[in-house]
Every structure is written in C-alpha cells, then in structure tokens.
Symmetry: C2
Subunit: 647 residues, 2 copies
C-alpha cells in the first residue's frame, strides 16, 4: 500500500475524478445535482488532462439525457469506454437505452447523484426515486454512502462491469453526498491503473461493431427465439456478485479500504437490525456504534450492491439472533405492496430460509419504512426511533420517519433531542447571504483545516431555493476521525451570523450548545449591541451562557479597500475564536491561502486581503453579556397577524 494522500472535495468531483480517468467518451447533459460531474469532465478535457491510457477523453454535450444515453450506447458499440452522469428525470429519459445496453451485456457505468423524481411537485433534492424507477433495466447498482465511498465505488463499479459485462449504475445521494465537501483519501493513478484489466478492455474492443469482423447485433427477434435469447444473460448476472466482491477485495488490497456487497455493523447478538443504502448508512453506522456501546443489541446492514441483489449474501449478512428488521427506503412507490428495498429483503429472506442459507433460522418480523424523501433530514434520533419501535409487540409496516404524518398516521415517534455527536468534533454554523462569499470562505476554511492538519473536515451548504440573495447556512465539522455524520448540525459549538438583519429573522441559537460561541456581524458598537437584539436572542445567550463576539465587518471591508466583500473578515474571526487551530497558525494559514488564491491578481489585492485579516482581529470584540433581558423587541411570528386569511 502506498503513502496516503488526502484531498478535500465534494462527491461529484470525487466521482468525476475517477470516471474521467477510466473512460474515453463522456456524453453529458447537465441536470441538478449531477451537473458538476459533467462540468469537471468538460473542463479537464478542455485542459487536455489525460485518462489512464494517455488519451484525452472526448466530452460531448448532447441535446437531452435521451441523447446522452444514445451517444453512450453508440460509443460503447464502437468499443470505447463510455460514461455519463445524470439524475432524476434525466435518468428516466435514459431508461430505453439502458435496457439495450444491459440487454447487449455492455460494460459501462452511469454515475447518478440520486434525486427526487417530480411528482406532486418538482424537487432538485435527493432521494432514490430516480434510481428505483430504473431498476427494471437490468443495470447493476452500487450505492455509495459518503464522498470517500463515491470515489471508491466509481472505480469498483468500473472493474465490476468490465469483469461481468453487466453495466452498472453507481449512485449516491444528491446534495447530501454530491455536494458535501469532505476530506478523503485520494486514489492514486497507480491504484486506478491496477483495477483495470487490459485483457478485458481488449475483449470489449473486440466486441465492437466493425466492418473488419462483421457480426449482427440489435436486430428484431420474434416469438420463436426472443425468450431463449433473453435468458442467455443469466450466467453473467449469476457471476456478477462474486466478481463485484472480488473487485472490492482487490480494491482493499490496494487501499486498505474493505467493503462488502452487504456490510453488517453492530452487535454480534443483535436482535434489531436496520437495512438501508445511501448516505443514511453512515448515520445508522454511527448510531449503532453509539447504542451498542450502551449495550443495545442493534445492528445495521449497509447495502452496497443493490443489483444484482445477492439473496444469499444478504441473508448471510444477518446475525443469527435477529428478531426484527426494519428496511428503510429513501423512496415512495404509491400502490406497491412495499417499497423496493423492503420488498427485495423480504423476498430474500423468504428464499434464503427456504434454502437454509445464513444463520437465521426462522423468519424475523420485517417491516419497511420511508425516510429522507427529497433530502428530508435523516438523523441518529430517527435511527434510534426505528430501533425503539422494533422492540414493540406490534410493528407498524410501511411507516414514515422524520415527518409527522397526522393524516394517515404512518409516522414513528422519535426523541428530537437525541444526538450521537462526539465531543471530539467541532461543529460550526454560518448564516450568510447568497453570494456574500460565506459559502466560498467556508469551503476555503475546510481546505485549510483539511490540508494543514490531521483533522478530518466536512462541509455541507444549505441554500434557499432562490440562490442569490437568500440565506445560506454552512454546516462545518472538524475532528480527529473520519466524519460519518451526513446530516445537518443540531449541536453547534460556534454560530456566526454574517448579516445583521438575520438576527430578527432566523432562530440561529437553538442549535448552539451551552457555553458555545456566537459571532455577529453588526454595525452596533460592542457596548450598544445588546439592546439591538430581540428578547428571544437575549434569552438564549443568557440561558446557554454563550460567548458573544461582534465585528462590524462591512466597516472593516470598506476601510481595507475590500468593498462589500466580508468573507475573509468573517473567516478570520472564526479561526481567531473557534480554537480549531492555534490562532497564530490559523492566521498564517489564511494568509497563505490568500496568496494562493489572489497571487495571480497582483500584490495589491493580496495586500488588501492580508490587511483585512489583521484589521479583523483588531476590530472583533467580545461582548460582556448582561445577566438579564433588556429588549422590548420580539422576533416576528412566521405568519404576520396582518396576513390575509388565505396565507
């Protein structure tokens, strides 16, 4: 194994990084949240960056996702390695070509940042409804749960498809994984190269349609032979799970990161087990660790390969002691006998028990539930809620978790206050205005911490639907271990309010821990600021014993020639008071970053920024919090009393 090398990137870039290196033709059509995968590939191709074989991949933008899939199908038939990136309705438009690509046993991977399919409303956010709508196509499916896995599985999928000739759809949760910035181990070119078997590539080339060795393919067949011919794919699908596990094993040899088709984590004598896939796996893993330490007999099966569904390995992954199982689907199929992963698990148990596979001897109680539709939060508290329910005498099938369904009463209750966040992780929330530079500065902070320290880092950015001019909330975590918390921060050590007027608009302090820090950008002076706060804010600062800092960032920006750009200033304050890094070290790191970022733009820009850093420190002040509420101003109600009835 080589020396580890780290990089701080988001899921889309991680996937694109690999996909670019192992393909020759990349047909794209942008759709949120997959777009940046195609954009990266396009940029790298324009820059002449080469793939594993020393050629620059051809990136072609088509007129629709139907065209992207058609171009992919065509390029594959010409014997090239080809991929595409998509999501949601884009994936739906690829389905006809996917049936063909799979039917013809063509090695290829489609990378999908899984996104809600529009139903009663459109949504750009993440769930598995798009992927599930494509599950009849015959594509293999690998689900990655984190940015690291997204990079890793992008490569494993490529090896698995070349070995088995079953094409793969590799997916990961839209936004939650595609847009989470995380410090991960970078895969070396050597690892990538070692995972590609040239012999298999040659076989793919030799199957190309070519006048040099004419074959007939893609014709019309009639009832006399179609059925027989359709069944000839069976050996490939039967071999695919083994070949994929071998690909995972080979990958583990090269990198030390071992995955299985179904990874069980938890107590050896677990009685209650949750099964799921996607980013929720990390949340469940984390929660299971927390609960088993407290002696609870719980476990989780992380589904990595959803198709082909290896019935035997799934059943074998369950401990003998299991009594009740909840299978969680991040999709909804109205009218089905159950959501798809649940249905597959029940089927697998039925068949596995009939064949005496695995250690489970009698059918456990199995229920299915829905969670996280359209990036609805999915937290350890909800996982615990499900585990708690699995203890009960009567189980509720087809439940929901994470919402309050007071119409059809499908929801399970859970303790909203439950948290597994360890003390070793520092958590910060930043409330900025769309386009005010807050998100960019935070991404920069993550890189600084990720690349200058041994800390792992995670950043997730919540935008309002109107990107520019609305609130953006940055959720940053830093800690000594890889961060397995793909959910929003509810217990922040640090909260920064980058826009003064937010103080009356958003409840920012409910999510701060006692004794945490609150930083406010305000034109009010240190001694006057207290009285500008609404009652609710004063109450929380007092009750939680918060440390309270202020800075007039717009004034500093103006005075240092930065105009309206407050991002560097607020970033400096964060480093100065959060203690994530020793102060000196942090300030130097920011200044280094400034040189890197603005060096090309000239000495004066660099100087303006470094001046701003120094002035930030000089102009930030801690406020002595009075012991009592003095304000007469209340935060406005969500709906004004003056609003007309129909609101």
């Amino acid at each position: 194994m080589e020396q580890k090398k780290y990089i701080t990137i988001d899921g889309n870039e991680a996937v694109s990084y690999v996909a670019y290196r192992v393909n020759e033709v990349i047909s794209i059509y942008p759709i949120t949240p997959s777009s940046s995968m195609g954009e990266w590939a396009d940029e790298w191709s324009a820059k002449g960056i080469k793939n594993m074989w020393g050629t620059v991949p051809t990136v072609v933008e088509m007129q629709s996702e139907g065209g992207a899939a058609g171009a992919m199908h065509g390029a594959l038939q010409a014997g090239t390695l080809t991929t595409t990136f998509t999501a949601s309705q884009g994936l739906l438009l690829m389905i006809p070509n996917m049936f063909k690509i799979a039917g013809e046993l063509t090695p290829a991977v489609i990378h999908v940042s899984a996104r809600t399919v529009a139903a009663h409303a459109l949504s750009i956010f993440g769930d598995h409804s798009d992927v599930m709508a494509a599950r009849a196509t015959g594509f293999g499916m690998l689900a990655s749960a984190s940015v690291q896995e997204a990079m890793d599985f992008a490569l494993v999928a490529q090896k698995a498809t070349m070995e088995s000739r079953v094409p793969f759809l590799h997916f990961f949760d839209g936004f939650r994984t595609s847009h989470e910035v995380s410090k991960i181990e970078l895969m070396s070119d050597k690892v990538i190269r070692s995972m590609i078997d040239d012999q298999l590539l040659m076989e793919h080339r030799n199957r190309a349609l070519s006048p040099d060795h004419p074959v007939l393919r893609g014709t019309a067949q009639n009832p006399d032979v179609f059925f027989q011919a359709r069944e000839t794919v069976n050996p490939h699908y039967m071999a695919c799970p083994d070949l994929t596990q071998k690909a995972f094993d080979k990958f583990a040899e090269l990198t030390g990161r071992q995955y299985s088709l179904f990874d069980y984590v938890g107590a050896k004598d677990a009685e209650r087990v949750i099964v799921l896939m996607g980013s929720g796996c990390d949340t469940a893993h984390d929660t299971v660790n927390y609960l088993t330490e407290k002696g609870e007999k719980v476990g989780v099966v992380k589904v990595r390969m959803y198709r082909p569904f290896d019935v035997r390995r799934f059943v074998e992954s369950l401990p003998a002691s299991v009594k009740s199982v909840a299978v969680l689907d991040r999709t909804k199929e109205p009218g089905a006998s159950g959501e798809p992963l649940y249905a597959d698990c029940v089927n697998a148990l039925h068949e596995g028990l009939a064949n005496r596979w695995g250690q489970v001897k009698t059918m456990p109680r199995v229920i299915g539930g829905r969670y996280g539709l359209s990036s609805k939060e999915f937290t350890p508290a909800m996982i615990k809620g499900v585990f708690d329910h699995l203890k009960e005498g009567t189980l509720k099938n087809h439940f929901t978790i994470g919402i309050n369904d007071d119409v059809t009463n499908t929801s399970l209750p859970y303790d909203h206050g439950f948290s597994t966040e360890p003390d070793t992780v520092r958590r910060a929330l930043f409330y900025g205005l769309g386009s005010d530079g807050t998100v960019g500065a935070n991404k920069n902070s993550i890189k600084i911490i990720g690349e200058n320290t041994n800390n792992y880092a995670q950043g997730y950015f919540v935008y309002d639907s109107k990107k520019a001019g609305a609130v953006t909330i940055s959720h940053l975590r830093f800690g000594p271990n890889p961060i397995q918390s793909p959910y929003l921060i509810s217990k922040a050590n640090f909260v920064a309010c980058h826009q003064t007027f937010f103080i009356e608009k958003y409840d920012m302090l409910s999510n701060v821990v006692d004794g945490g820090t609150f930083l406010l950008n305000t034109p009010a002076k240190q001694e006057d600021v207290w009285d500008t706060l609404p009652v609710e804010v004063q109450e929380k600062i007092i009750a939680k014993k918060l440390k309270f800092y202020v800075i007039d960032a717009y004034k500093v920006a103006e005075e240092t020639g930065m105009g309206l750009r407050i991002n560097t200033i607020m970033q400096t304050c964060y480093f100065a008071i959060s203690g994530v890094l020793p102060k000196e070290e942090a300030i130097n790191a920011i200044k280094d970053a400034i040189k890197k970022t603005y060096g090309k733009k000239g000495e004066s820009i660099v100087k303006k920024n470094t001046d701003a850093v120094d002035q930030s420190l000089a102009n930030m002040h801690e406020v002595q919090v009075p012991g009592k509420v003095t304000s007469k101003k209340h935060m406005p109600k969500p709906v004004s009393d003056k609003a007309p009835d129909y609101v």
Copy 2:
C-alpha cells in the same frame, strides 16, 4: 340488464371503442401493437362520432410518446378527460409525465397493449416488461386477459380513476389480446353512461388550472415540505382498491359480468396454486377446470388489479389448503431478487400472515417463474407442467417455462402433447401468403359465424416479421361457449394450404387431429396431386387418415375474373367442407357478406365474387388417398447441407 348484443372485434378496437366514448382529448403517437387504438379514434373523430357527452373527441398526434404524455398531462390540467394509447419504448417515454399525473392525483387512463421492451434485440411482440418498467410511477394498473375483459376493464378503469383520483394504466397482452379477433358482448352506451358519475366529472373540471379560481400546482418544493406533501396521496391509494372493486360490482349489476381484484378459480381444497395476470389467466383457468374435473387439487389466482396491490385481498383470495404457489411473471428483470409479481406476492403473504389476514395460516412454499416473453407460446401443457412441479419435494425458484434453457437449466419440463381443447370447439389453420387475402377472408369468416350463429369465435393471426410476401398462419376457433384459449392451435380439425409451394416448406400436418381435413390449393389435378406431395406429407395424410381436398384456386380466380384474388374461393371451400355451418346456410352467408363488402363498388364486382363462390364449389374435389407412400421427394432440411459453416 339489457338484451345482450354481440360484436366480433379485436382487443384494440374493443378498448378504443370505450376509451373514445369516455374521453374528450386523445393524444396519440403510434407504436406497435397499440397503433390501431389510436387509428380507430382518429377515424371516428374524423367521422364526427360523438362521445358520451355528445361532443367529438379531439384526437391529436404528437411528435413522440413523450409529447403524447405531455399533451395528456396538459389537457388533464385543463380539466378535460384525456387518454392515450401506447406500448413498449413508447410507454417508457411517458414515465416522467406519469409520475407527475399520479403525483397530482389526476384521474386518467392510459391503455397499453403490453409489449416487450427492446433489450438484446427489439421485438414487437407481447410481454409485460414495458408495464413493469412503469410500476414506480404511482399509476394504478388493471390487467385484462381477453378481448371481452379489455373492453370491460377499459370502462372499469375509467370509473375507478374518477372515483379514486389514482390514474390507471390499463393493459392487455400485445398481439395475443390486442390483435385477437373475438366474439364478445358489446357494451351499450347506456352501460357506459351509467358507469360515469357526473359529480366526479365536475370535480375534475373544478380542479382545472384556471384564472377564474387560481391555485398553485406543480411548483418546486424543498426538503422542508416535500416529504410531508408526498405522503398526502396515501388516503387515495388506500381507498383505491375498494373503489375499484365497487366499480367492478357496479359493472356486474349492469352487465352480469362479475370480476374481482383477485379472482380465484379452482378446487376449494387446492394445494397447488398458480398466480398470474394477462392473457395467460384464461389458459390457466381452462387448465384448472380440466384438472379439477379429474380431481386434482389445483387453482389459479387471476390478478386483475396489480396496482395498488391490495395485500389483504390477495391473501384472502387463496384457499386455506394451499401448500405451494407458483407466481408467473411475463417479464424478466435481470438482477432483481425475483420478478415483480412474484416479489409482490411473497411480500403480501409475509404481511398478510403477520396480520392474520385470510385463511392461510402458515407460509406456503412460493416460487416464481417466467413465461411467454415476447409472445412465446403459453399453453395448458405448460400450466400443467408448473402444477406438476409444485408437487415436488424441492422446488426450483426463478424457473422458466416454455423454453429449453440448457445453459442455466432454469426450465421446467412439461408434456408437449397435453391439451385441454374440448371436442365442441372446431379449430382451423390456414397457411396463406402475406397480402394474398387469407387473413382478411378469415376475419370475414369469423364475423359471418360470430354474427350469424350462436357460436363464439376466435381468430389469431401469426405473421412472419416480413409482413407482405411471407407466410401468415390464421388460427380460427368456433364453439358453443366463450373461447378461453389464448394460444395457438395444436390440434386442428382443418388445415388449409393456400399456396402450393408451402407444401415443401412448412410442416402443416403435425398439428391436425386424426381424421381431420386438409385442403390444398394446387394446379395439380385430383388424380395427379398425390405424387406431387413430399414423403413426409403423404405419410401424415395416411397415418392420420385425413380427408384430403384440392382446388386450383388461381385457375378459378382467373376464369371468374378475380385475377389473383383467391381469398373468397378458399373461404368458400372452407365453409363447404368444414361443417361449421350447414353448407347452404354458409354459402348464403358468404354471398350476403360479398354484397355488404362490395355492394358499393357495383353490381359487376358482386357478380364476379358470387360467381367465384359457385365455381369454387364446382372445382373442389376430394382426393382418394392411396394406402401407401409413393413420393421420392423429401422436405428440405431447415439448413441445407450446402450452406456455409457460419450458418
């Protein structure tokens, strides 16, 4: 109930007949085998035929199935009753709009002549792979098994969707049902009218997007509310099965034809049960009747409503005595834990037993199998093969039936000679040349018999892939009871060879019963014809003691001024010797039909045709079959010895 009225039509026309009457906008894009549904609607609209509300439906042909679905979605949002017809890849292109139509709870029905989705090869023939690929959309699904059911369910689906607001996909087997010509009970306008509730129509109208009562619909939603909003459809899906059963019950009151969401047929103490949907239901029903009469404890569950899948009603449909169940899917999903209907049934049993629904107390052995992909024949012999297998100690899951899979050994064996065809049914096979008028004449014969006698009639026409100039085989059945035999004829009483050269090309006599009749169109004279036959044909005529007739139809056609048109001549011969009708009566009926068909073209055309009828009778001769084989000529091998190796 009104006086019964019969009509002889194919499945597509039966469906279109109803769909046209209960819709106002029909958006179409033609795709085999659904095309004629749209063509009928287009023709009726052009002729000004009115729907139930006295208006002429607007029929619009779009640029693709995506457009047809989009137009449908738009028209529905304007409060009109809208439908479309499609199949296969066409349906796949409708999936994005189907998610929207269902998500918005819009009453509408899409009629699908279910057809194979292209995989390793394209196929125009029938199976459920298209419908299954759309099962995530939230559409309800009704499956009809015959031409009669296709007409009936087209109406029931309309009522069910208007009652429940769950849109429906109504499907039936492509070609097998869509193109089978059958004598069925015609639905009166009064029945159609009685099934439509004007109040529900007004509610649909009132939900239209309109500036008169502005509402917001089809917007984008974010993680805060999407999940909750998505779950609001639940009450509609929960109510849908009851409402659909009520629609079936109301329909039964009006017509006497009673259906259930799951119809069980068979022994009350059945131990072996088959579950399936589509045209195979009739084959299974027929076979179960045959086997239970012989004392076998078997039964079949016909799935009428596949979505929403009513778990409780499914479990309740099974007899308490059931020990083993085979669920048959007319589709293949490589990589799934099992085919979809099988997976739903296992899930339903799991949940039903947990809730103590129905009479079954312990989980039966359940296996799944595939059959009939791309219109592969599905016969009583195969049904019996599955029942026989269900007796065995070890069951083979994920089996195939109807093919010989000698690679992965999935196939079940069956007795190819087993038949349930009753003696009361007359069965005839006609070998014609594409475009020689054979199929048209046979459709005409079915109408004559269907409309002039109490006999039920069925016609199915097998085309080679190249329509004109290749063989067409017409399969005709006539009998005193409704014909439940949606499979090809293997025991014909009558075989006609309309083209002399076929005698050396096709084995036409393997499927004739002993003592059956063989009619050959040949220029050879009565006394010379024997020696023109190959050895294999002579052997079969002798062994089976066939009655053998000849006519030189081309000579008669030429002499009566018919040119090359032999259809009326061969039809006359069939009626004269088959005994389906008394000869006199039959001849008069043909002449009446000629007057109807050609009356508008003038007296001389009518006379030519009636002359041809008379001359046919004069020129047809029975051949005295010699007791021994005299020929030296053999039928050629399928592949010539002279063919190059690669063939």
